[in-house]
């Protein structure tokens, strides 16, 4: 049975229940992964998966069943319904559901699974060779992954949506060692399915390999507050981690204090600051037409001119907060129910050039690139893969990688310059509630933050 047939069966089954809401997902996916570690190709692997889930909302409680086998869908739907019924006295709800029929929705640039393994390996061999021709480089890790997914959504209101999704991801890490010191530099890129977008990186990889070696002799930053300038990649990570997660309504909707903090209309930054999230922004890794609850994608202004103007919703959080749907419910695969996630998140560009931005900084730090970032709502930390001192308006000596930390609310207010050079970073994968890595993109122009705390000795 293919997933379309199974989808029609499941649609019929769930339409018969007396529940507030039932939905189902079925998917068929294929993926490739290629890893180089050290000098050689370490592993090359192809995976195929079929599976699905049924989720039921009955009297305010959720039941969820996931499975690999597309047989006995009736039993599975019943199990989800029974579980939901066991959660008596819950107060979960969804708003009015508009039925949508859409087939052959293609949110991809290409199907990377159609490219022969030999071509993929050839490109990665070239990149690997560049790293290994760099003197003093200890080792390298290259991870390539691609996937293609046929994805089907049905719900009890009569929606039937068939989508195709694809993803390409490349991560290259160069590791330099000397004495007992180890330093690494990484590069991450991705695309919604177009293999061509990870081609032609030869110069970039050469440059990052040399940088890893240089970092062995770089000094560490002294831990204190600095004026910090973030490059588009790191600023994108910052807005994703520090602010984006807090805009996810599932963090907010059942938390009266946080609701208070995140009241729409509150001032979060200066009048120059606009922050956007939207799957409706086309052609990026976080782009799609319908989310995993069958809701059409939007482009949402989270902050407009410094004022909090929107947030990201699932059907449940929108209904609970009595706000507009935003199309941000996503699940990493059929084993998980959809939860509120970001898509393509960015700070809109303004007019200042990078050189003007650093011109009047006497002593500051310029941070680029990223290792990662996490947040605990109020506090965030994020780590820069590259750091340089700024002295008297110029980029000066390189530093070891630094970790930046701060309080979201003061830090957003402390952004005092936003550049004119927006770039989107397609190399990120976002993790939340055990669902990782979800394809997202984030971006920003260069930004300047006053009084930013840098860890160190």
């Amino acid at each position: 049975m293919n997933i379309r047939e199974a989808g029609h069966q499941l649609a019929d089954i769930i339409s018969k229940y007396d529940a507030e809401y039932i939905d189902g997902h079925l998917e068929e996916s294929q993926s490739t992964s290629i890893t180089y570690r050290g000098r050689d190709l370490e592993a090359i692997d192809k995976t195929a998966a079929t599976g699905g889930n049924v989720r039921a909302l009955v009297k305010g409680g959720w039941g969820f069943v996931s499975f690999n086998s597309l047989e006995e869908l009736r039993t599975k739907a019943q199990q989800a319904f029974d579980q939901a019924s066991l959660v008596s006295g819950g107060d979960a709800k969804v708003g009015p559901v508009v039925a949508i029929q859409a087939t052959s929705v293609r949110d991809i640039k290409d199907n990377p699974l159609n490219i022969p393994l030999a071509h993929k390996k050839q490109l990665l061999d070239e990149y690997n060779e560049i790293i290994w021709s760099t003197p003093k480089l200890q080792t390298a890790v290259i991870g390539y992954g691609d996937s293609h997914k046929k994805y089907l959504y049905v719900n009890s209101a009569g929606s039937f949506i068939e989508q195709e999704r694809a993803d390409v991801m490349l991560r290259v890490t160069a590791i330099a060692a000397g004495g007992s010191e180890v330093q690494q530099v990484g590069l991450s890129l991705g695309s919604p399915g177009d293999f061509n977008e990870i081609k032609g990186l030869h110069d970039k990889i050469k440059e990052m390999s040399l940088r890893a070696v240089d970092m062995l002799s770089a000094p560490s930053a002294r831990g204190k507050e600095y004026t910090v300038v973030l490059d588009p990649i790191l600023a994108g990570v910052f807005i994703h981690e520090a602010f984006g997660h807090l805009s996810e309504a599932d963090h907010v909707y059942e938390n009266p204090q946080l609701r208070e903090i995140m009241t729409l209309g509150k001032k979060f930054g200066g009048p120059e600051l606009n922050v956007v999230d939207g799957a409706a922004v086309r052609g990026l890794r976080g782009s799609y037409q319908y989310d995993d609850e069958g809701v059409p994608a939007e482009k949402t202004y989270l902050i407009r001119e410094g004022i909090l103007t929107g947030r990201l919703h699932s059907r449940e959080t929108a209904a609970k907060m009595n706000e507009k749907l935003s199309g941000n419910a996503r699940a990493i695969n059929y084993r998980f129910p959809p939860i509120v996630r970001m898509t393509n998140t960015y700070i809109e560009p303004r007019s200042i050039s990078f050189s003007d931005m650093i011109a009047d900084i006497k002593e500051g730090i310029y941070v680029k690139n990223w290792y990662g970032g996490t947040t605990s709502m109020e506090m965030f930390t994020f780590s820069a893969g590259e750091a340089y001192m700024i002295r008297n308006g110029r980029i000066a000596e390189a530093l070891r990688p630094v970790v930046l930390t701060g309080n979201l609310f003061t830090t957003l207010q402390n952004i005092d310059a936003i550049g004119n050079d927006l770039e989107m970073n397609q190399g990120g994968g976002c993790g939340k509630a055990g669902q990782s890595p979800l394809p997202v993109s984030n971006g920003s122009p260069h930004i300047r933050i006053q009084h930013c705390l840098i860890g160190g000795k």
């Binding site: 690999n68 690494q184 507050e225 506090m379 930390t381 780590s383 630094v402 705390l453």
Partner: protein
């Protein structure tokens, strides 16, 4: 499975089929209320072949065609790494106990009740706190067959419960939490809630941390967030083989304080990360990684051991797509003499670190960590006086662990690490 093995052997020299299935029932509470019940069934099959001396892989979940699976593995073997090992012949596995049929018998209603008992004492104690809680049971079944005639088969149960609380006052946020995991059912919610209640008690007052070097005690959770990511990498035979581990060439040398000993041990009865054999059918063993400060061994799977001319430590673990690589199963850090209370009493001014945020984002390979103290306390004149915030601690694992003391008490954190408290006499503290 045997059919896949037979098909594979028609077109390759050697093969292995690994089959894993699981059934998991998580019950979740959100914002002090029961939120949902889930049931997750899954099964996957992983094929590994050696063809013309090269390794090939294929994996499938759900519906698949046996011949197609074999074809994919053969296709990838064209590009695969040379196989540096033979699949193991039948052997002896330790009789580690990891299955308790009581886990399967626990009804969902009892799990719901347990979750409620995790939350109730906490919301009674602290006005305005919001708790998320989870109670989960899982049964997994593993089967492995290979062309050397080896067969392995086991079933494992795990039961876990955990609760986390968030308290927001103004824009100040406090996070507390605790969890437990076992192959037995856990019916005592109190052991978990008491930890959380104690955290709330200690965090009642705020205290300021200065900007300088301070003595710091890492609690077991603190040890896991600050040190363990670096150890996971440094003792991984693959990282060692690449020359990227700072201790890779220090075998037999004393690199750490003599009070520091570290083991990898998947043979502890009813510990959730225990198993009779690894995912390649190699018997589980307790491996000394550091004894009295001296580096003793690294963790290997078959392929990495073959490359390094070492022996597999039974650390072969299937990751994404079923690829095998060496991985720690459960880290055990040896306990010491002093109690946590004595450690605190000896400090005039210092910190206790329970949770670090972002510590794993730095140069983990080099051992550098730098994290924001998500939950931590200030010590003044031998007493905990309150909670610190807007504070970072930074250091290097290899520098710090040259001079430590280790507590007598220890606990399991998240099922994968058993560790005491670790005291470091001087650590860089940056505060705002």
């Amino acid at each position: 499975m045997e059919e896949i093995l037979d098909l594979a052997l028609k077109v390759s020299e050697a093969a292995e089929v690994f089959w894993a299935s699981s059934e998991e029932t998580p019950v979740s509470f959100q914002a002090n209320k029961l939120k949902g019940i889930q049931s997750k069934q899954s099964s996957s099959v992983y094929l590994r072949v050696i063809k013309n001396g090269q390794l090939g892989y294929a994996a499938a979940s759900g519906y698949f065609d046996n011949q197609k699976l074999v074809d994919i593995a053969i296709e990838t073997a064209q590009f695969g790494m040379p196989g540096k090992f033979d699949f193991p012949a039948p052997g002896y596995f330790p009789q580690t106990k990891i299955f308790d049929s009581d886990v399967e018998k626990i009804p969902v209603s009892e799990m719901i009740d347990l979750g409620q008992r995790l939350i109730d004492p906490i919301i009674r104690s602290t006005q305005g706190i919001l708790c998320d809680a989870g109670v989960s049971k899982e049964t997994i079944s593993i089967r492995l067959v290979n062309s050397s005639g080896s067969q392995a088969e086991y079933r494992k149960t795990t039961f876990g419960l955990g609760v986390g609380g968030t308290l927001i006052r103004g824009t100040d946020m406090l996070f507390v939490g605790e969890g437990q995991e076992s192959c037995h059912p856990i019916r005592d919610a109190k052991a978990v809630t008491e930890v959380v209640l104690h955290q709330l008690e200690l965090a009642k007052n705020m205290a300021a941390a200065p900007n300088r070097q301070l003595p710091v005690i890492f609690t077991p959770d603190g040890v896991v967030s600050a040190f363990i990511p670096s150890f996971m990498a440094a003792f991984n035979g693959k990282v060692v083989l690449q020359g990227a581990s700072p201790i890779g060439n220090k075998l037999g040398e004393t690199v750490f304080d003599t009070r520091f000993s570290l083991y990898d041990d998947p043979t502890v009865d009813f510990a959730p990360h225990s198993r009779p054999c690894d995912d390649e059918g190699i018997a589980s063993q307790r491996t000394a990684l550091v004894e009295n400060g001296k580096v003793q061994n690294f963790l290997y799977d078959l392929q990495t051991a073959g490359q390094a001319k070492a022996k597999s430590t039974g650390s072969g673990t299937r990751g994404r797509g079923g690829l095998v690589s060496p991985s720690a199963s459960a880290f055990i850090i040896k306990t010491g003499e002093s109690t946590f209370t004595e450690m605190v009493q000896d400090i005039k001014e210092g910190l206790v670190v329970e949770q670090l945020m972002g510590a794993e984002q730095g140069n983990v390979l080099g051992g550098d960590f730098s994290g924001n103290v998500l939950l931590g306390y200030k010590i003044e004149n031998g007493e905990i006086v309150g909670r610190v915030k807007n504070t970072m601690v930074s250091g290097n694992v290899y520098q710090l662990l040259k001079d430590i003391s280790v507590s007598r008490e220890a606990k399991w954190v998240g099922g994968g690490v058993f560790t005491p408290h670790i005291f470091c006499p001087a650590l860089a503290v940056t505060s705002k």
